[in-house]
Symmetry: C2
Subunit: 356 residues, 2 copies
DNA sequence: TATTTTCTCGTTAACGTTACCGAACACTAT
DNA sequence: ATAGTGTTCGGTAACGTTAACGAGAAAATA
């Protein structure tokens, strides 16, 4: 009583029971909205819970409960050209590790973003097994939409990451707002050059027809710049290749032709443009803006060839998705609406502190 | 056996005990490096732990252990001029909330950053009570150094947030690298203006003599720009006031005199400069760069008056500090070295997605 | 009235870990 | 021989919560 350390006991289910003159079993029934409690006692218990602002001990809860939740994660596999999906997978792995002690089982399915059949295959597997939820990074729009509809019929929760598509998932979307992403690139561009500047937009990727979302970025970029009324001369060039030698040829002709002041690469392939100007130092380098914190991109950023990388924390997306499912299934929170992911600006002077 | 759901039981302390033919008590003694275990059984148990890659269930552990850890947090109190410390406090509160179910008790002490006596007072209180660790946001350098030395004599763990000072704390520093922060501002400046540009650096704060760390930012800024050899004309002006009317007068004279192309405000007071140009639209607005994601600053960012805000997530700093102590005391990890906090660039086009 | 059903609620094992208590044994000092 | 002192280990309560089990009373059915 006169001791220094105040025995700050947690206010728990037992204390509620004592105050309400009931057993902990009854309190538990009230807390979990189960039946077998009379209206009067239910109210009494609820009042005490509210009055003392009872907060359940989530660690105790997850210890007690035996989970049987299975989650499927469907994302593109990492290719040489895009380490992007590796980052995403890293975040997912971190999330899986944290969820494991709660008894949540997770299975990751990778598909080839250049081969729709691989996607159909893994989605079929997911449907056939007994999953409770599925995290999807959509590439093939129609096929994904058909898939989520099947999921909903089977009472399988769905959640998108990385890019959104028209058919809504049950748990929403975690990722950047693509239009704003484009606008931000436009915003940066407007600081770099003045009236009449020549701007070249580059779409670089094999199978460009599958990358509709790139158009959303471009639209944001163009509308932002056009609204400034600075008579920018904007051109779009598609380079539907992955191999450097093929891309180089295309770059050579289009850059020679238009001698742009700013180069805007609409996806994570900006490193090949970096390499181009690194190999051809005789050409005056324009300002270069691109996407994603990949090793190759950061390399050319650190060399001073790429000026800005716009990044969207792919690892956080994967991690958040799993964290969200954890909260949905175990904590029974229902956070239905997400804020879009932050859009980060990385330059030669802050890249070394990015991500932790 | 032929059922679909694979009963993926966790591999726990009991399983180790069974395999080693000992009791769980013995396994626990080995795991926690306590005595009363013979060399032979200790080795046997350790081998099994390694072989099966046993990972303890941290939630069960924290349920079982009765903690008696008390943490003191010493930060400046929020003033009207800087909502900055409120953000920091928000992160700390979030951390406290998460730590509470583990039985960690936290007490926050606020001091007046314009009155050294208030700092001495709260530091004295911390020394007198029985804390295990103290989180400090240093402002008064000498006094803080004397304080941490006292702490170390009393075996009290220390950790700095927000700015580092020469006398090392036992658990390191969580915050941005100030020199790099200045360099980043220089980097952005270099994209905005060309040769011979006029640049005005503004230090705005009452009691400027207490803000030595601002010089570190300025040094980073200057060296970056000077290395470009673009003959920038850089000037520094101190405005040792907090009240807008006083600051306005000073701004009026110095801006009239030098008509700068870029204004670099070295701390979070950039909103008063924003207000100045909002009130005096007759003056041509230079590019404006400032710090910190405060409501007032973001307001002028959204109006297009402030161009760049450089931010360092004060809330994350506070949160991280507590999270770190949790890991140090409860999980017994010893992460000794921190990566510096990320430095974020915020413009009119990405501020709405910042922080989550 | 006797039997069954329904509604409430208390009791208890379990989740994985920690830490205390004391048993069993070997050794030393009387 | 007895008493005392270590050393090594097993057993078990406890942490806060969940959920299965079953007891007792009231209500419905026969």
């Amino acid at each position: 009583m006169m001791s220094d350390d105040k025995e700050k006991k947690r206010f728990g289910i037992k204390d509620i029971a004592k105050l309400a003159n009931v057993s902990i079993g009854t309190v538990d029934r009230v807390l979990n909205n189960r039946k077998d409690v009379s209206g009067a006692t239910r109210k009494k218990v609820k009042d005490i819970i509210k009055e003392y602002n009872y907060q359940p001990n989530l660690y105790a809860r997850s210890l007690s409960v035996k989970n049987n939740i299975k989650i499927s994660v469907i994302i593109p596999k990492t290719s040489l050209q895009t380490g992007y999906w590796q980052l995403c997978l890293d975040g997912i792995s971190k999330g899986i590790q944290e969820l494991e002690p709660f008894g949540i089982q997770t299975e990751v399915f990778l598909y080839d973003q250049e081969d729709v059949h691989t996607f159909l295959e893994v989605s079929e597997k997911t449907i056939k097994s007994h999953f409770n939820a599925v995290v999807i990074a959509p590439i093939f729009i129609e096929e994904t939409e058909a898939f989520v509809k099947k999921c909903h019929r089977k009472k399988l929760q769905t959640i998108y990451i990385n890019s959104d598509i028209p058919t809504k998932s049950t748990l929403g979307y975690i990722g950047p707002d693509l239009n704003s992403t484009g606008r931000l690139a436009g915003n940066l561009t407007s600081y770099l050059v003045g009236t009449n500047a020549k701007i070249l937009i580059l779409n670089i990727a094999k199978g460009l027809e599958n990358y509709k979302y790139l158009d959303t970025k471009i639209e944001g970029y163009r509308t932002y710049l056009n609204n400034l009324n600075k008579n920018f001369r904007i051109e779009v060039v598609d380079i539907p290749y992955n191999e450097y030698t093929e891309v180089e040829k295309e770059l050579w002709t289009s850059i020679r032709k238009s001698t742009p002041d700013v180069l805007f690469v609409t996806n994570s392939r900006v490193s090949v443009v970096g390499r181009f100007f690194h190999d051809h130092q005789e050409i005056k380098k324009p300002y270069i803006i691109g996407f994603d914190f990949l090793e190759a991109n950061v390399d050319y950023l650190s060399k001073g060839i790429v000026d800005f990388l716009i990044c969207q924390r792919p690892d956080k997306q994967g991690y958040f998705a799993l964290n969200y499912l954890y909260r949905f299934f175990l904590l029974k929170e229902n956070v239905t609406n997400f804020k879009p992911m932050p859009i980060d600006i990385i330059t030669i002077e802050n890249y070394m502190f990015y991500e932790n």
